[in-house]
């Protein structure tokens, strides 16, 4: 599936014209996946303060996407909610968001993350191998140079998120 890769590369170059540190191809794909999650996952209405408040994708720790993620979501909307990307270098920086990507090198337990309370509607995504065990919702992993997903539906359900069955079909489901 090298074609896809090249295609994604082409895609990402369009959106990273202004990118300073060029992300790896892997992260470009992951950035697109992050955006795609907004298509297959629905948030409870309580997650938004009002109808046109944005859907926030937060990156905790080091930003591996550079400007690529920002470029990917620029101008996109979920329903009436525009998508914005925010970066939280430290735990204290965390603000309410809807998708939280946690850098694998971030050395804090998920329990330390303040906003991850039930029904707050925050989807947690990471690359770290222990992420699901810690109670993470979606983890990226790579097989045959293809990025695959592991989904832990229980915490997501608790968070008030509904994951599309189509997405679930693609992913490996972690059963507790």
């Amino acid at each position: 599936m090298g074609v896809v890769w090249y295609a994604l590369l082409f895609f990402s170059t369009i959106f990273s014209l202004r990118a300073q540190p060029e992300p790896t191809l892997e992260y470009k794909v992951k950035a697109v996946f992050l955006f795609n999650f907004t298509q297959f996952i629905s948030w409870p209405e309580s997650a938004f303060t009002n109808v046109d408040s944005p859907l926030v994708i937060g990156v905790l720790g080091e930003n591996p996407f550079g400007t690529y993620l920002r470029e990917t979501v620029a101008g996109e909307k979920i329903g009436s909610h525009p998508i914005v990307v925010e970066q939280y270098p430290e735990l204290k920086d965390i603000k309410p968001c809807h998708i939280l990507f946690i850098d694998p090198d971030f050395n804090h337990s998920l329990k330390e993350v303040p906003i991850l309370t039930p029904n707050r509607g925050v989807l947690t995504v990471s690359d770290s191998p222990n992420f699901i065990k810690q109670g993470g919702m979606i983890r990226f992993y790579t097989v045959n140079s293809k990025i695959r997903l592991v989904i832990n539906p229980e915490p997501a359900r608790r968070a008030g998120l509904t994951i599309s069955s189509k997405l679930l079909r693609l992913a490996d489901i972690h059963v507790q």
Binding site: M1, V3, V4, A7, L8, V29, F33, N36, T38, Q39, F40, I78, K146, I147, L149, S164, K166, L167, R169, L170
Partner: protein, 637 residues
């Protein structure tokens, strides 16, 4: 089998009409149903495929979004349940082939890039492109292709059903119409059968059976009515015929009787026609003979077969313009013409003629002419007329004779009386008396001469002796010898050529010449020269003798002398009896001689004239008919 639609039986015609109509309706119905079904089915097939496409597309959005070709294949694989979907494929948003179904089909079998969204029928398939959209974003395209087998199967089924329906309906229509058409054709056929029977057997007593009160029922009634009328008329005609025949028989009998009478009448008329002494003929308007009778044939000496049907002027061309011709023309104009006396232009003879126009409806169609031959009567009349003329002439002569005789005969008698008176008175003696007696004697002698000449004249008139051939030369010789003495005394010369032979009475002709010679000698003082000439009467001189009849030839014999002659005014008078131009004392004669000459010439159907200049002699011209049986002596020519 090439029967015209008009000629096939009504049963078949009805059947055909019913079957054709129901067949056409069925066919149309099935066809429209078929068309409707096919259109609907196509639409439903398309919408079905579109639904499937939408489902698959929706399901495959995640696979495309998360670049999971395996998942894509899996999703497409679900189409295995739809046996008619033969191919399907997913293209990513860039248009690259992402997944395909079935796996065994090579990539070349699919469109190289997605086409326009939507579904359409190709020649063999129904195929379409369905957008794969998630949350309003297009993630790729689904291609899906379905074979038409199902549709064809469906159409086949429809066709079979339609055929079955048509066949069954047709059969049903056939059997139904076969029964139902009897309702219509049955009465017509029975009517036709009855009509056939009528026309074949001429039996007008049969009647057609009426089935219902529809038009055929009315037709049957009308037909029966017609038959009744024909029967009635037939009866009338038969009885009329019988009466007519009876009448014809009667009329024929009457006609036969009339014919017989007519024949009898015809016979009668024919008998009258044929036995009539009159010439009877009928001519048509073109003057062609149609009927001629026996007398006609006898008188004109011509057979009727030669003239009937021919034209009058053609049979007798000499009649053109004749009186009879004009009379016929007048009769043809419608006028009855009676001509008491017409000279025939065809034969010598006379006819009393009647020309009766025969008319029919006022128009002349023929002319009947009746000719009465009056030739005999005319001849008798002619003879009577001649006899009468002669009688008148002799009467005149007699009167003259009586007058002259009384005068001339009295004269010597008176002398005898005077001298006998003188002798009786005895006053004269001797010489004187004998002188008187001599005178008495001379008077008596003269009287004797007169009486002798008179007798001879009167005898001439009555002479009817037969004519004989007389040679005038011989006659002349006798006359010359009679006058031999006198000729010698007078020293006369007679110049006489050869004379012809004529038919006549020799002694009369002798007397004629003797009188003329005697006259010439008498009225000549000295040496008389008597010149006789003879010639044939020329046409130019014929007019000098107006009394001569017709075309006969005549001799002209002239006796000329050189005597005293006479005044021209007396040239006729000298032939009158007792007419003397000169003194009796100087020239002795009774005045009868020339009268005798004329009589003889006339007796011989000739004439005599005289011409003279006083003192230069006289010429007597005798004209006598040529006796044609004798050759004319050459000298005479």
């Amino acid at each position: 089998m090439a029967m015209k639609l008009n000629d096939i039986p009504i049963q078949k015609k009805l059947m055909r009409v019913i079957l054709l109509t129901s067949g056409a309706v069925l066919l149309l119905t099935c066809a429209s149903f078929f068309v409707y079904e096919s259109i609907t089915y196509r639409e439903s097939t398309r919408s079905q495929l579109s639904t499937i496409g939408k489902i698959i597309a929706t399901n495959s959005s995640a696979a495309l979004a998360f670049d999971d070709a395996r998942e894509g294949n899996e999703i497409l694989h679900a189409l295995l349940a739809e046996e008619h979907i033969v191919a399907a494929a997913l293209y990513d948003v860039q248009g690259n082939l992402f997944s395909k179904y079935p796996d065994t089909l090579s990539a070349q079998e699919f469109p190289p890039a997605p086409g326009t969204d939507g579904y359409s029928f190709t020649a063999t398939h129904l195929e379409g492109f369905q957008p794969v959209v998630q949350g309003g974003r297009r993630l790729g395209t689904l291609f899906i292709r379905q074979d038409m087998f199902a549709m064809y199967q469906r159409f086949q089924l429809y066709g079979l059903i339609a055929l079955g329906v048509i066949a069954v309906s047709f059969l049903l229509a056939y059997f139904l119409s076969q029964e139902l058409q009897k309702e219509i054709s049955g009465p017509i056929l029975s009517l036709a059968q009855t009509a056939g029977k009528v026309s074949q057997n001429f039996d007008y007593s049969v009647r057609a059976t009426k089935v219902g009160n529809d038009e055929i029922g009315n037709l049957t009634d009308a037909f029966n009515n017609m038959l009744r009328q024909i029967e009635e008329q037939n009866r009338q005609i038969t009885s009329f015929n019988a009466r007519l025949e009876q009448k014809v028989r009667e009329r024929t009998l009457e006609l036969e009787v009339a014919n017989q009478e007519l024949l009898k009448k015809n016979d009668f008329v024919e008998t009258i026609l044929e036995s009539s002494v009159h010439v009877i003929a009928v001519m048509d308007t073109q003057m062609r003979y149609t009927i001629v009778n026996k007398s006609f044939e006898q008188i004109y000496k011509i057979d009727r077969s030669e003239i009937v049907g021919r034209k009058y002027t053609e049979v007798f061309p000499q009649t053109v313009g004749s009186n009879i011709h004009q009379d016929i023309q007048k009769a043809l104009q419608g006028t009855y013409v009676h001509n008491p006396n017409t000279r025939s232009a065809i034969i010598p003879g006379y006819f009393e003629s009647h020309f009766v126009p025969l008319k029919e409806a006022g128009k002349v169609y023929s002319v009947l002419f009746i000719l009465h031959d009056i030739s005999n009567i005319m001849e008798a009349n002619e003879k009577l007329k001649v006899a009468n003329e002669e009688l008148v002439k002799s009467n005149i002569e007699l009167e003259q004779f009586a007058y002259v005789a009384s005068h001339d005969l009295q004269e010597p008698l008176r002398k005898i009386q005077i001298f006998t008176d003188l002798v009786k008175s005895r006053r004269h003696e001797g010489e004187e008396a004998s002188k008187y007696l001599e005178k008495i004697h001379a008077s008596a002698e003269r009287m004797t001469l007169l009486i002798r000449d008179l007798l001879s004249y009167s005898r001439l008139s009555r002479i009817e002796e037969g004519f004989v051939e007389t040679d005038l030369n011989e006659t002349m010789e006798l006359v010359k010898s009679d006058f031999e003495m006198l000729i010698q005394q007078k020293g006369a010369t007679i110049i006489c050529p050869a004379l012809p032979v004529v038919k006549g009475i020799p002694h009369q002709l002798g007397q004629l010449f003797a009188n003329l010679i005697s006259n010439a000698l008498k009225f000549c003082q000295e040496s008389p020269i008597i010149r006789i000439t003879v010639e044939e009467l020329s046409d130019s001189s014929r007019k000098l003798f107006p009394n001569l009849p017709g075309e006969e030839k005549y001799w002209v014999i002239k006796v000329a002398d050189n005597g005293i002659g006479f005044e021209a005014q007396y040239s006729q008078k000298i032939f009158t009896i007792f007419q003397r131009l000169n003194d009796q004392k100087k020239y002795a004669g009774t005045g009868i001689g020339l009268a005798i000459c004329r009589k003889i010439a006339e007796n011989h159907k000739g004439t005599i004239t005289a011409s003279s200049i006083p003192g230069q002699g006289a010429t007597f011209t005798i004209v006598l008919p040529v006796y044609s049986e004798v050759a004319i002596p050459k000298a005479a020519l």
